[in-house]
Symmetry: C2
Subunit: 397 residues, 2 copies
């Protein structure tokens, strides 16, 4: 048969599709892939921490022992032994989490999409930190909410500011541990106040926690989930404690919501890969993370310290920055007349990259902010890159 090609059609996108944009960060990452660039722009964990050999052995074991099961369709809620493991790991005395409260996800980003899908109507108010995780803003924005920025200070979001902006809100999204992008941690007092405020308002509280285990001192603060399992939606991920390329995360919530999310997941991608779930369970079931996570923590703590010292040495005193106690990011605030987007152009010309702060704001951005990641850059390069950036900033004072 000879193909005939009629004229291409014009695409008529949905209103919601018009909210979609490519992530600014992913665009910057493309520019900064050149090997000569010292890039603080990434949000990628260090591949040095990936337990490659252990993953290889686990794939081998699962495929040898249970290959046909691992390669067949699975259930939408996820692999039962892994859900049990997660429920156990999150349970505390007085706050028992049940396996049926756990839904496995194809990466925790998927949880943001599913939550937006089942909780947000067009024009719904959604409360977010200032600034907030860009991927959450992207995922929610598809469902066309009205974002409301929660006032924030050095200690993160201010719970007392919530009631006056919460009228009619459908959810509050927070990242309490070593937040992306600021590296800030919400204190126990604020967690407790936030949980109680949301509960009294009947407002679902999303606790997004990809970095929680990466506390440098190994003493993570209590989870909001355990303060109120009936009103907190907890999101976890294996990306930062194991490897991100396998795409495995989970959401924990009351069963009424989980069953609705499960239906949304079924329509969205049927289920998360069986093999991946069985392999991760094989890797972690005997306590591997207990010995593995401390190695990630100490690597990141060391590199964070190198960057903090370099900032102290090379950045002008007019700049300020956060001092994270875990995670992957430092947040810098420059004098208000400096636009970090302009600075980025100059920095790239000097072979240094970072992410400007503006895209992390749901509403009015602070143009004089930027995010630095230290986890994939070796110490000597961290010092070199920060020195170059410091010089560029000093020239603008």
């Amino acid at each position: 048969m000879k193909p005939e090609h009629p004229a291409p059609i014009e695409w008529h996108f949905s209103q919601r599709a018009q909210q979609l944009q490519s992530s600014v960060i992913r665009e910057i990452l493309k520019v900064t892939m050149r090997p000569e660039i010292i890039s603080f722009a990434g949000g990628l964990p260090s591949p040095e921490t990936f337990p490659v050999e252990r993953m290889r052995i686990a794939h081998d074991a699962v495929l040898s022992r249970q290959g046909k099961t691992a390669l067949q369709y699975g259930t939408s809620d996820g692999y039962a032994p892994l859900r049990e493991w997660i429920a156990d790991s999150l349970s505390l005395e007085g706050s028992r989490i049940m396996p049926e409260q756990v839904l496995m996800l194809s990466g925790s980003q998927q949880g943001l999409d599913l939550l937006g899908k089942v909780l947000i109507d067009e024009g719904s108010k959604v409360l977010v930190e200032t600034p907030s995780y860009l991927g959450a803003l992207q995922a929610f924005s598809v469902y066309r909410p009205e974002f409301v920025s929660i006032p924030t200070d050095e200690g993160g979001l201010i719970p007392e500011a919530v009631p006056e902006i919460a009228q009619g809100a459908r959810l509050l999204y927070a990242l309490p541990n070593f937040q992306n992008p600021t590296g800030r941690t919400l204190s126990v007092e604020r967690r407790s106040a936030l949980v109680h405020t949301c509960a009294s308002l009947g407002l679902p509280l999303i606790e997004d926690d990809p970095y929680g285990a990466l506390s440098y001192r190994g003493n993570p603060l209590p989870k909001m989930l355990n303060m109120n399992p009936g009103g907190v939606i907890y999101m976890g991920s294996f990306s930062k404690v194991l490897t991100p390329g396998i795409r495995l995360g989970y959401v924990v919530a009351p069963t009424t919501l989980i069953r609705k999310l499960e239906q949304a997941k079924q329509a969205a991608d049927l289920h998360t890969a069986q093999l991946t779930q069985m392999v991760v369970y094989e890797v972690i079931k005997d306590g591997f993370l207990d010995s593995h996570i401390p190695t990630i923590r100490s690597l990141y703590a060391e590199q964070c310290q190198v960057m903090l010292e370099a900032l102290e040495e090379f950045f002008p005193q007019e700049a300020s920055w956060t001092r994270p106690e875990g995670g992957m990011f430092i947040w810098v605030t420059l004098p208000s007349h400096i636009d970090s987007l302009t600075l980025l152009d100059e920095a790239i010309a000097q072979n240094v990259a970072f992410v400007p702060g503006a895209p992390f704001y749901a509403n009015t951005p602070a143009l004089n902010t930027l995010r630095l990641s230290f986890v994939t850059v070796p110490p000597e390069k961290i010092r070199e890159g920060i020195a170059r950036l410091g010089k560029l900033i000093a020239a603008k004072l």
Copy 2:
């Protein structure tokens, strides 16, 4: 800290979430997992066809050689060598498909969700076959379209019927090869007529093709994609030719649409697992599917033949059924006074299961229809199950 638990909140779901229901099929499957049940209800490929050992070796090779890359975050569009392989495999002389027209998916079901997201507004008309794939109806229904049923006969959808119902439609969804649920195949003439009708109407045509390679005689009909690459959205999957549990599929479309789908995918789950894509590429790059697919074809062809012969022998002449030339399903039409949902209760009491036809209809269902799958049931059980069903039906005449 002593946990305190405020009262659980009441969930306020979005309007779109109220469209969501658990798949009837998945509910039936739970009932029919008992080993004594002869189940024709499944839509699962036969695990006998899974190349388990080859998958194990490929995981081993990829993790040994490129472990850190395979376990790191990847790009939203997918693993480049695999996208090239897919583009090549779909290219014909005169209709070249480029890798940038291919977006990798976490299973082809995800393509239905993403297409619904970027193409459907509330109340948009969406044209579907009568009956149609349940998973597509589920995925699209989240975006609250108005489904319009395309008139259908023994040869599948009738292209001439499209123009009068297409006013204002946003897409037409078709499954031309060995359709789920009917097993019907659209003729070359109808494909060509449909492509030209859609092109002249400026109507995007989705060609969902999970079963295309499973033509029993090994002579698949031309793809609508190649008849009009500028107006056809093609969806493919590795679930039926390799294994489904890894969740890997793809969508092929003009780049304007692919870039929008890529943004939607980024917000939905960032990207599809790198490791999975690299492993599948490792498995298929040297022509493995050319020798593997014929083994699946002949298994399914044989079991289909057993079921057709059993239907001939045991079903009353008042029933009729399709005679598929590929794929996994036979569609049965009973005398109009027999409700297949009632029949299912009686069948399960006799330890036989199938899927009633009603859920496959977007609008008015034909209650006297049912779907049978023959791929996971051994021949002697097929005969036994069909004999029991035939007796139940005969008793209703």
